[in-house]
Amino acid sequence: MNFYKAQNNIDKSCEFDENLYLLRQLDFFSDLPLETIKIFAYLCIRETYTRDDYLFQQNIDDGKAFYIISGHVKLICNDEKEEQLIRIYEKGVFLGGLALVGKIPRLFSLKALTKAVCLTITREKFLKAVRQLPELMPNVFQSIVESIYTSERVFFYKHAKNCQYCKQKTILTFL
């Protein structure tokens, strides 16, 4: 509780405190010192999307990461003819961490299925903050490497078990 709250007996929590609480729950940030997470909690912005709003669009490098606070969003792939649903995400999911460290156009689109509130941070803010706090880089890289490794491990053992072609394509962790 900060000084102002103590002085004024405020029970209202501010958005910054709520953001701080949420970020401390995320693997991507949880290992960082509290003072550093505070910076990211401050730099994050809450965005509210209504149904059918795009959070990000295929082939576009929006350079943003999202944490879904409430609502449902769908990951879709638009080919030339139609929209293919890949999966649905709900609150508590952190998406797009990779976009924070480098330019990548999205392979998919993320669209709001219901009204959704997300905590977002842009690559520009993230990288500029990291540049000032270089001690963060090992954590950031470790976090990214771990998520790539976990994804590929799950894919290899769970889904590619009976598919020779899929096995041949699991090469991300060799990169």
Binding site: N2, Q7, K12, F16, Y42, Y49
Partner: protein
């Protein structure tokens, strides 16, 4: 302007004095001749007054000679004034001609020249260095004629008075004539060095300003300061040296001039004592020595000015000693209008160092065909199109348009037929409209001079729509604050649209807009705005200047808000300082902060002091703290929460403030009323009558869609676009995004409507939607406009008639999309690897 550029490089400094000013120079010489002879009259009168009037004690003669003396000095004064006027006109005319001609010449220099030349050097040369050359032009004839003639007349007169003493008084001049040029030579050498170092300094400054992002991002202040200081120190030393030589010239000159009366006293006195010289003549000799000083001084100064101007002028010529990239206008014919095919035969381009960037390129495209050039980085794509567009002089082979060799064409032939859009287009610091008309006006002087022949508003709107710039311009229009004088007819229409907007869409848009409501706290407004709930009509207290006004202080004290706001301000400052203290002072980190980056140090210190004093604040500290609290906007600054208690106090305060204004300061504020236009607010804010919540990236887009619908119904959409086109884009278009800059660059070429269009990755910064729109536009030009486009996105090349793939300075494959895919060559591989 025809071929004029070439002559500038051969023009002597002296010639600027005569160029178009011969009549004025003749008048000046006449005035000078009369002046010089008039200047002898007072000397003769001096002699006669002493030798005749005084000696003979004749008062009449005294009056006559004194009268003539007086009239002659009045005349001499008037003539001197007239000659100064003539010199000023000549000098300023020469300077402006010089600047105009140099500027014309610089604009036509090849692009390669500007790659190695800093803008700072060009600015310094045009503004400073040429100024002394212009100054010289004014005195080039006048001063030497005046001085030499004066000296000559005085010497003849002295020899006429007494030949021995006359010759003695000339003794010192040979010494001076040898010494002064010697010193001046040294001064000129130092001056040349000074100019070179100044040029380095100007390059350094330009480089630092251009690369300020890198410097700040790397914290490289020490490196930059070290480099800068090194040059400044060099400049300091050479300037001292230069000035020392200049002062030596002045000092020697003064010494010799003071020496001449001494010689006259010694020799003249001796002759006079021996009765070989009349007293009146000795007086005249002494007087002339004084008078000789002026023309002699002027002559020496002239010599210095000439040497200085010559050094600067020669350096300026040396800096810009390059041939223009072509003849400006065709000789003896109208510019060509091409409509034939474009052929490239054995085209080669090598740099001065011999690096081959294009190696025997061959292709041809028919009129109206579209060619895409793709390839690896550094393969020569941009060099190729720069050669076709005559921006580079190709070193081998041929480029033919409609059978005419490009390198033989005049610049006007090329500009009239070929439109060029670069990857990083340059926008001028002007309005969107002026930038749109730039290419169009380049060959339509009547439009430039507002004499007609300009595109209509419909033409401009059409091109904005075609290039997907319409909505951007609409936003600029919506964000404009209208002046009541210029747009008085729009005011009532906008208020009517506001009412309709709230009535029709208020409920639907309540997630995106916080509408003004007198009974509610506005979370997207600052505390100050919540209290005032209106706008000042004149210079009235605001959150910055509020402590200067007893009115607002009294109000805060009366409502009991001072203490709670002070506590809020301290909490806010403490929290922001605590979070941001380890971050650099960059704008991006302060977007969500009520403290700006330039105030941060001040507030950091303030927080520290308040903490040490156990939260007791001085009146100065209170001022800063209240200022911060009053700008606190809960919907934007999320680092602390606003208590319900303060909210209630502010709502109560809002009513009290209104009453206080109505009774104590009527007319000073306009309060938010649904029926009144808010003159301090933009068109958008007037229509939505509230604040857009900063929670949805699409909020403004959705609101705009509804507003556009109402604009169409009220028939003012084009009017708002017209207002939007008055938006000033800033230096190099810095107020626009990269995509917007590219869209305007494409729009201005489309408006020009050339027969041939060359694009160098012209859509690289566009999003998919804009890219698609531009691609449709390009497709619509098939069969009408011949297009060569360097393309970076492979997904759009299908639409081109031909595709050329470049690698290592050569075209390695070329054909239709189908042919190249069927061949399974490089394009095929590139497409496969990008999947």
């Amino acid at each position: 302007m025809k071929n004029k550029s070439f002559s500038i490089l051969n023009k002597s400094l002296f010639s600027w004095s005569f160029s178009g000013q011969i009549k004025l120079q003749i008048i000046l010489v006449l005035i000078i001749c009369i002046t010089v002879f008039i200047r002898v009259i007072p000397l003769e009168m001096q002699k006669r007054i002493v030798n005749e009037a005084i000696k003979l004690r004749n008062a009449d003669l005294l009056l006559i000679y004194s009268g003539i003396y007086f009239v002659s000095i009045v005349f001499a004064g008037i003539l001197k004034y007239l000659s100064n006027i003539c010199q000023t006109i000549i000098s300023q005319r020469a300077l402006s001609n010089m600047r105009k001609d140099f500027y014309d010449h610089i604009l036509t220099l090849p692009v390669t020249f500007f790659r190695t030349t800093s803008p700072g050097m060009v600015v310094t040369t045009l503004i400073n260095e040429l100024a002394s050359a212009g100054e010289y032009a004014g005195i080039a004839i006048a001063v030497p004629i005046t001085s030499i003639l004066s000296l000559l007349v005085f010497f003849i007169y002295l020899i006429y008075l007494n030949s021995t003493l006359g010759l003695v008084s000339l003794v010192i001049y040979p010494v001076v004539i040898f010494l002064i040029p010697f010193l001046q030579k040294k001064a000129s050498a130092a001056n040349r060095k000074r100019m070179d170092i100044t040029r380095n300094l100007s390059n350094k400054i330009t480089e630092s300003i251009a690369g300020i992002h890198e410097i700040q991002a790397n914290g490289a202040f020490a490196i930059e300061t070290f480099k800068f200081n090194k040059i400044v120190d060099k400049l300091y030393k050479i300037r001292i040296k230069w000035n020392l030589f200049k002062f030596s010239i002045k000092a020697s000159n003064n010494f010799f001039n003071n020496l001449s009366p001494f010689i006259i006293f010694i020799i003249g006195g001796y002759l006079s004592i021996n009765g070989r010289l009349e007293l009146g003549v000795l007086v005249v000799f002494l007087s002339v020595q004084e008078k000789l000083f002026d023309p002699w001084k002027e002559l020496i100064e002239y010599y210095q000015t000439y040497q200085d101007a010559l050094v600067r002028y020669k350096k300026a010529i040396e800096y810009f000693d390059e041939d223009p990239f072509g003849v400006l206008e065709p000789a003896g014919r109208d510019p060509y209008i091409f409509n034939g095919k474009l052929e490239v035969k054995d085209l080669s381009f090598a740099t001065d160092d011999g690096v081959i960037l294009l190696d025997k390129i061959n292709f041809s495209i028919n009129p109206g065909e579209h060619l895409a050039i793709i390839g690896f980085s550094g393969s020569g794509k941009s060099t190729l199109i720069h050669c076709i567009n005559k921006l580079y002089k190709y070193t081998g082979g041929h480029v033919y348009i409609d059978g005419k060799e490009v390198k033989d064409l005049s610049i006007k032939d090329v500009a009239l037929n070929i439109g060029f859009v670069s990857q990083t287009p340059y926008l001028f610091d002007a309005t969107i409209k002026e930038n749109l008309l730039y290419s169009y006006m380049s060959d339509k002087i009547s439009c430039l001079e507002s004499l007609g022949n300009c595109p209509t508003l419909d033409d401009l709107v059409k091109v904005l729509q075609e290039t997907d710039m319409f909505i951007d311009v609409l936003h600029f229009g919506l964000n404009t604050i209208l002046s009541s004088e210029k747009y008085h007819d729009l005011i009532s229409v906008i208020v009517a649209i506001r009412n309709k907007f709230i009535r029709l869409y208020g409920d639907n848009l309540s997630d995106y807009v916080e509408f003004f409501d007198e009974t509610k706290y506005q979370y997207n407004c600052s505390i100050y705005e919540n209290l005032v709930f209106g706008v000042p009509n004149q210079k009235a207290p605001n959150e910055k200047g509020m402590d200067d006004r007893a009115f607002f202080i009294n109000f805060l004290n009366e409502t009991g808000l001072t203490k709670p706001l002070e506590e809020l301000g301290i909490a806010l400052a403490t929290q922001v300082v605590n979070i941001l203290k380890n971050l650099p002072y960059e704008g991006i980190f302060f977007e969500q902060s009520p403290i700006s980056y330039d105030e941060f140090e001040e507030y950091k210190l303030l927080v520290d002091q308040i903490k040490k004093s156990d939260h007791k604040v001085t009146s100065i500290q209170q001022k800063k703290i209240l200022e911060l609290a009053l700008r606190f906007t809960p919907g934007k600054h999320k680092v602390i929460a606003l208590s319900d208690n303060i909210e209630k106090m502010i709502l109560k305060g809002r009513k009290l403030f209104r009453n206080k204004v109505i009774t104590g300061a009527p007319g000073r504020f306009s309060f938010y009323k649904i029926s009144d236009y808010l003159y301090s607010q933009s068109i958008l804010n007037n229509i939505i009558f509230g604040k857009v919540k900063d929670i949805n990236p699409f909020a403004k887009q959705k609101i705009t869609q509804h507003i556009v619908q109402l604009f169409v119904e009220e028939d003012i959409l084009e009017r708002i676009i017209e207002i939007g086109m008055e938006f000033t884009v800033g230096s190099k278009g810095e107020k626009l995004s990269g995509g917007q800059r590219q869209k305007i660059a494409i729009a201005r070429i489309i408006l020009k409507d050339p027969g041939y269009l060359i694009m160098d990755e012209a859509t690289s910064s566009l999003d998919n939607k804009s890219q698609a729109r531009i691609q449709n536009l390009i497709n619509s030009k098939k069969g009408k406009v011949t297009i060569i486009s360097v393309v970076h996105r492979l997904n759009i090349i299908k639409n081109f008639d031909k595709i050329a793939v470049m690698k290592a300075s050569k075209i390695v494959e070329m054909g239709t999309y189908k042919e190249l895919i069927a061949n399974k060559g490089i394009l095929y591989e590139l497409l496969q690897s990008s999947k």
